[in-house]
């Protein structure tokens, strides 16, 4: 591996431009397996590889040891020095052909069976609970980085990368979708693991709707769309450390969530509302969501 990626991994195709750089599908010439190569160029100054990169990659390696079924495998890491100022770090992940976006697009006309949605959600929550209990937040959950294998196994991808890349964002023009962003991020308030729960809530709704729940065009527009669903939060829940005032938004009452997600059952709707809670401290945690009664009763998968 020390000889670099080019020898062991033979690129097959470019898969997605990704917000953070090009991702390649490649063949591992040793095992014949397909892998996904994600590279990031990091600036190396007089103090070597940046702390953030060292820590994040070490964290991904540590998570890998747990072999969690709902997290994409990190198979290898390599670092090649490009010049005195630049090192290319390549992360080699297992390759899964399909993401949740395509999975939903390919779903039969009648939509996914409620039991199938429950199964996907349970796996998604298991993966998240695992990441969160290891102090990792995803920060950029969306259908594109939730992988679904042909056996219907959910695998979270691209977690933790946000932090590796964020230091080097200036290098690439980044277009990040706002649709899965929670209010605290849109308001630029402080945030933690509840951000992922919000995104998962949006994805939960999308599994029924097969189209996104909240499609804002700017931060403010996205917030407006959110309040049309959950209503404008009370004054005392509005974060104090933000510049955008609550008065900026019209006073709206929450609408029944079934107006937006008619197919959802009662318990599902309860859970969804707990995930789409404005105040991150009141939002349900991944562990608690798994205990929710929605997951207790089984429904047919097809």
């Amino acid at each position: 591996m020390a000889h670099g990626t080019s020898l062991q991994y033979e690129p097959v195709a470019e898969i997605g431009g990704g917000a953070y750089g090009t991702v390649y599908k490649a063949r591992d010439t040793e095992s014949g397996q397909f892998v996904a190569l994600k590279s990031v160029r990091v600036q190396t100054d007089q103090n070597g590889l940046p702390i953030s990169t060292v820590r994040e990659v070490a964290l991904l390696k540590r998570l890998e040891q747990f072999d969690h079924p709902n997290v994409v495998r990190l198979m290898d890491v390599c670092a090649i020095q490009r010049s005195d100022q630049e090192t290319k770090v390549t992360l080699v992940f297992e390759h899964v052909d399909q993401d949740l976006k395509t999975y939903l697009e390919r779903a039969p006309a009648a939509g996914l069976a409620p039991g199938r949605i429950k199964d996907l959600m349970r796996q998604l929550m298991c993966g998240l609970a695992f990441l969160h209990s290891n102090r990792v937040m995803h920060r950029d959950l969306k259908p594109e980085n939730i992988l679904v294998t042909s056996q219907g196994q959910v695998k979270l991808a691209d977690f933790g990368l946000a932090r590796i890349y964020s230091c080097h964002m200036a290098l690439t023009p980044v277009v990040v979708t706002l649709w899965y962003r929670p209010p605290e991020v849109l308001l630029q308030s402080s945030y933690a693991t509840p951000v992922d729960i919000w995104s998962t809530g949006c994805i939960f709704a999308e599994m029924f709707r097969r189209k996104p729940l909240l499609c804002g065009e700017s931060e403010v527009d996205q917030l407006g769309k959110i309040f049309q669903v959950i209503g404008l939060p009370p004054e005392d829940e509005w974060p104090t450390d933000v510049t955008l005032s609550r008065k900026h938004f019209p006073s709206l009452l929450p609408r029944p969530i079934t107006d937006f997600v008619p197919e959802i059952n009662e318990k599902g709707a309860q859970l969804l509302l707990k995930m789409l809670t404005f105040d991150p401290l009141k939002r349900i945690s991944a562990l608690n969501a798994l205990e929710h009664s929605y997951f207790q009763d089984e429904e047919p998968l097809t």
């Binding site: 103090n47 060292v54 964290l59 390696k61 747990f66 890491v77 670092a79 609970a129 209990s133």
Partner: protein
Amino acid sequence: MTRAGFCDSKPLLDLHKKADERRAPLRTWSNACGPKDRWQPVEVEESRMAPVKMEPERRWERRLSAQTSEGIIMGFNEDSLMHTAADGCVEESVFLYPHGLQGIHSLQALVPSLLRHEVETALEKLDLAWDRVFAWDMFLDMMRTQTRNSLPNADLPRHFTDSTRSVLVDWLIQVHEMMHFQEETLYLAVHLLNRSLRQIKVTTVNLQLLGMVCLFLAAKKEECLLPEVSGLCYLMDHTYTSHQLLRMERKILLGLKFDLSYCPPLHFLLLLASIARSSAKVVWMARYLLELSLLEGQCVVFLPVQLAGAALCMSRQVLQDPLTPEGEAAWCLASSVHVGSETALLRIMHILASAAGKAHNRETCATFIKFSSPETMHVSRHPGLKNTAALLGICT
């Protein structure tokens, strides 16, 4: 992926030892917490005490299916997570097996909720868990991941001897102290050094550089403030250029595959000491002994929790704190974490005893000096440590 399960790599139990010795903590626990008259020493067959062959554990299955699997060190079964701290299953499980504890390798069956409660409280108090909700999970992770942190054997590559290694470690201890780094950084640095020495081809000439870069990488992982590379080169008398240092950094990262995770024995020590309600002096003494273990090449084969347990155990014996029933009960609960590794603990205590006995007149005495200060309660100068023979006596 192959797992460095400790069962494959080294015997956990010395089968030549008397069965009594191996059972000691179990028995004391039972004496303290259970009804005394019920306890009957059981003749346990040798084979039964042998460690169970363990499969790589998949803890996550518990959420997908409620199946129980053989736990890693002392049989933490995952279904223990289903219990809350309040359900009184401690008594229950003891009474369920009135004929002794045959075949129970599982600590979970013995002290499920009590230990869990203590661990959660301790981790929270020590600020090692960011949220109590995750504390028990985190402890199970610590127990599990540490099995990757011991090495299969103490062999060093040719050209290197244990004494070269300890000279290097001693120097790292001095640099570490000078930099005012956290203690975790030192333990991580020495761990990275131990692994690098076995993973990377390095000449004797570059040994110091290797050690320094391990400390540098440990600092990148643990510290908020990072030393300048030029400063590190200065500390090495400019024997190496900063270019060489950075090249070594990449070499180590690749050699170790960026795997810098480590569960320092220090965390186990603080955890055990907190559960055992150890006095400040006992903790300082144990920290001293634990740091001495860094200098001993043979210690790399032991699990962090075993090193910590041995250091704490020996510290208690050296200092001979007055015994109270509460203190004994707390100690028994803490040492229940070691059920099954008593022999390893004894072996470590032997190593530590001889290290402590000669620490004051060795060339490598940075740790001795560090722990002779008033802030550390002068533990390294404690008269109880002077006599190696007597020390070895307490370990048998």
